[in-house]
Amino acid sequence: MHVPDTRREYWRKNLWLTGSLLVVWFVVTFCIAWFARDLAAFTFLDFPVPFYVGAQGALFVYVLIIWIYARRMNRLDEEYDVAEEER
């Protein structure tokens, strides 16, 4: 099947966005947890930093990642004219 260039570009942009957001997800979750013992000396809002990240910070970042993705992709659909018609 021949895939038009515009659609290829849409898919490339999608992959790029997905990839970058997954990097953020990975760093917030696994990198901070890996260095948790070293970061425990620092505090934020009276919390030790790794505890704060695990209990609240990471959750905010996850919600934000999904929000950015939904917003950006919904716009991209319009830009590349692949949006479905709203029922």
Binding site: A33, T43, F47, G54, E86
Partner: protein, 642 residues
């Protein structure tokens, strides 16, 4: 469509207001002297009746309505339904307790059970919605072709969902029996009625609209006690914001408790007890005596348990905020590795559990599916970022007001939960004062007892029970439907009888639902210990079975049928092999990873097998490649025009 969404908003705002009024009315009734038992009954009866009426009002005989709620659930409401679907009895009652016991290390659950939604949002939900069929095996079957992949996906669905649903029904039994004063088996079957009246009549449609109501009840019930507790301790009613300072106080108290000579003597007494039991075990092992080998083994098992408990109490306390505690560097490293592995498995498992993924078939569009994951996680986070606050407030209360007080004058909540065996106090050093080592708390007690600790009226305890019931029922509904639909749609309709009429398909579906529900209730009524530990396995199992096949199916056109079958068999096989052997046959652990995180081996193995086998088998045909292409774009119409 818009009018429909507006109406929904109106109904549910009205419902929320009504529910709050109902709770207030009961509070007034309690003040006027209504007995506690009546309050418990009123709560249970009113909420179960409510779920039943939603079920009856939304009954349906339409296939699309029954399987995917007519695909017209707006993003926000699907988010709430997903929240209720997702948060189980374990999240509602057990999680705060786990955090109380494990401190930082328990946060693996908080991050794992929320971070998984990033994977759902980015890698799966929009594409599954575009595919737009009925079940997860449906996608696997259509993408890879042939019955083998589809059947394997059904097996995976049942493996991951059945123990999970059994645990929910078990939870329903516990809650109803505790608050209604009926026996456990009756409680199980009462709860079963509450589950069935909903899913049986209206399938996904009824389940969806009930779950929205259940979410509202469970979140109010979860937040209320801890908000009051926060107000009591810090005079700020926003627990999530202020528990950092409470955590600091807990840390100070930990140091004081460790240094307290009375605590030291209590720990020494437990160490002596552990040693005594150890000698008893040794003598049992060496000498023949009057006991039969079976009796002797049982006795040894029992003593070993007692010895482990005593030895645990002799250990220094673990600090709440300290990540990966351990005596040696090796212990600490192993704790860290297990933390990361568990977080990873819970995340990937979350993104692969069929009962969560099918929720994204029910939105009206791809756009709304993306937004819906955002709402799902927002609603879920509301509970998950409150759970650590529960744990810290409870710990503060126990460490400052309970420890060091006179055993003869302990507060009332200790006595009432001690009666149920959830709190144990033992004055091992005979000084009449309670030391930390002398107190045993069942994790469930943290959420259940917080209303009493905060000095709230009984009505709040009833509310918490209703919330726990809502959490268990909603999850059980979603799971049962997922199992029954995988069997009826994928096995019966797609494989056995493709000419079946819609009436017949629905009849088979409902019959299977009833059958699966009864088996699950029967298993739950046997109260198997293992069932609760097996729930945690569901994440590794689902992750290893589905995640690689789903993700590669969407993102890699070259993935073939043979690759997918190999990946699912090998991923699932390695996971099951590891967890069963480690748990039951004492196999040496690989890299010290515990059995719960078996997916850490199975998931990558699944990916590697799919890729390798796909590369040596012929590429998928044109039609399959077109299907993948089609799934990637919300609409292809425009591209054709350009």
């Amino acid at each position: 469509m818009r009018a429909f969404a507006q109406n929904l908003k109106r109904y549910y705002s009205f419902f929320t207001g009504g529910f709050v009024m109902f709770v207030l009315a009961l509070a007034v009734a309690e003040y006027m002297g209504m007995p506690e038992k009546w309050i418990g009954w009123t709560f249970m009866a009113a909420t179960v009746l409510l779920y039943a009426s939603i079920g009856i009002l939304t009954r349906t005989t339409d296939v699309v309505e029954y399987y995917v709620a007519g695909r017209r659930v707006p993003a926000v409401f699907n988010g709430m339904a997903t929240g209720a679907d997702w948060m189980s009895a374990a999240s509602f009652i057990g999680m705060a307790g786990t955090l109380y016991q494990k401190g930082y290390d328990g946060l693996a659950f908080v991050m794992g059970w929320t971070g998984g939604y990033v994977l759902v949002a980015l890698l799966l939900a929009p594409y599954l919605r575009k595919f737009g069929e009925f079940t997860i095996p449906d996608f696997i079957g259509a993408r890879y072709g042939g019955h083998a992949a589809r059947s394997l996906a059904v097996v995976g669905t049942i493996l991951a969902s059945f123990t999970y649903v059994t645990a929910q029904i078990y939870g329903v039994g516990i809650i109803t029996s505790r608050f209604l004063d009926i026996n456990f088996e009756t409680g199980v079957f009462v709860g079963l009625g509450g589950i069935l009246v909903c899913s049986f009549l209206g399938g996904m449609r009824a389940v969806t609209w009930t779950q929205v109501a259940q979410y509202i009840i469970l979140i109010i019930a979860y937040l209320m006690p801890v908000v009051f507790m926060s107000y009591k301790v810090t005079s700020v009613p926003i627990p999530q914001l202020v528990y950092g300072s409470v955590l600091e106080k807990v840390t100070e108290r930990e140091t004081e408790i460790m240094a307290d000579p009375a605590q030291v003597s209590a720990r020494a007494a437990y160490a002596r007890r552990a040693a005594t039991i150890g000698r008893e075990i040794d003598s049992l092992k060496q000498h023949d005596n009057v006991l039969t080998p079976d009796e002797r083994q049982n006795r040894i098992d029992q003593l070993t348990k007692d010895m482990d408990i005593a030895a645990g109490k002799a250990k220094p306390l673990t600090r709440h905020a300290e990540p990966f505690p351990g005596d040696t560097a090796a212990e600490r490293n192993s704790a860290r590795l297990n933390f990361l592995a568990l977080t990873f498995c819970l995340m990937v498992g979350t993104a692969a559990l069929p009962h969560v993924l099918i929720r994204y078939y029910t939105t009206p569009s791809v756009k709304q599916a993306r937004e819906s994951v955002f709402w799902s996680l927002l609603f879920i986070s509301l509970l998950y970022f409150t759970a650590p606050a529960y744990a810290v407030f409870a710990k503060y209360e126990v460490y400052t007001n309970l420890i060091g007080s006179n055993i003869a004058e302990l507060p009332n909540w200790v006595h009432s939960w001690a009666k149920l065996g959830l709190v144990k106090v033992e004055d091992i050093n005979h000084d009449g004062i309670l030391q930390l080592a002398e107190l045993t708390l069942n994790p469930d007690v943290i959420v259940l007892a917080t209303p009493e600790i905060a000095g709230l009226p009984y009505v709040v305890a009833g509310l918490v029970a209703a919330g726990g019931l809502a959490a268990a029922l909603s999850t059980a509904d979603g799971l049962l439907l997922t199992i029954a639909n995988a069997l009826s749609h994928d096995i019966y309709y797609k494989i056995i009888n493709q000419d079946a009429t819609t009436t017949r398909r629905l009849a088979v579906s409902k019959g299977l639902l009833l059958f699966v529900a009864l088996i699950a209730a029967y298993v739950a009524a046997l109260k198997p210990d293992t069932i609760l530990s097996m729930v945690a396995w569901a994440f590794s199992i689902a992750g290893a079975c589905f995640f690689p096949a789903l993700v590669l199916g969407i993102f890699w056109k070259r993935a073939t049928k043979q690759g997918a079958v190999a990946g699912m068999v090998i991923g699932l096989g390695i996971t099951l092999y590891y967890l069963i052997n480690v748990k039951y046959f004492g196999m040496a652990k690989w890299f010290d990873i515990s059995d719960v995180s078996a997916g850490i081996f199975g998931i990558p193995a699944g990916f590697v097998s799919i890729i390798l086998v796909s590369l040596v088998t012929p590429a998928p045909d044109r039609a399959t490649q077109n299907m993948v292409e089609n799934v990637r774009y919300p609409s292809i119409r425009a591209a054709a025009r350009k």
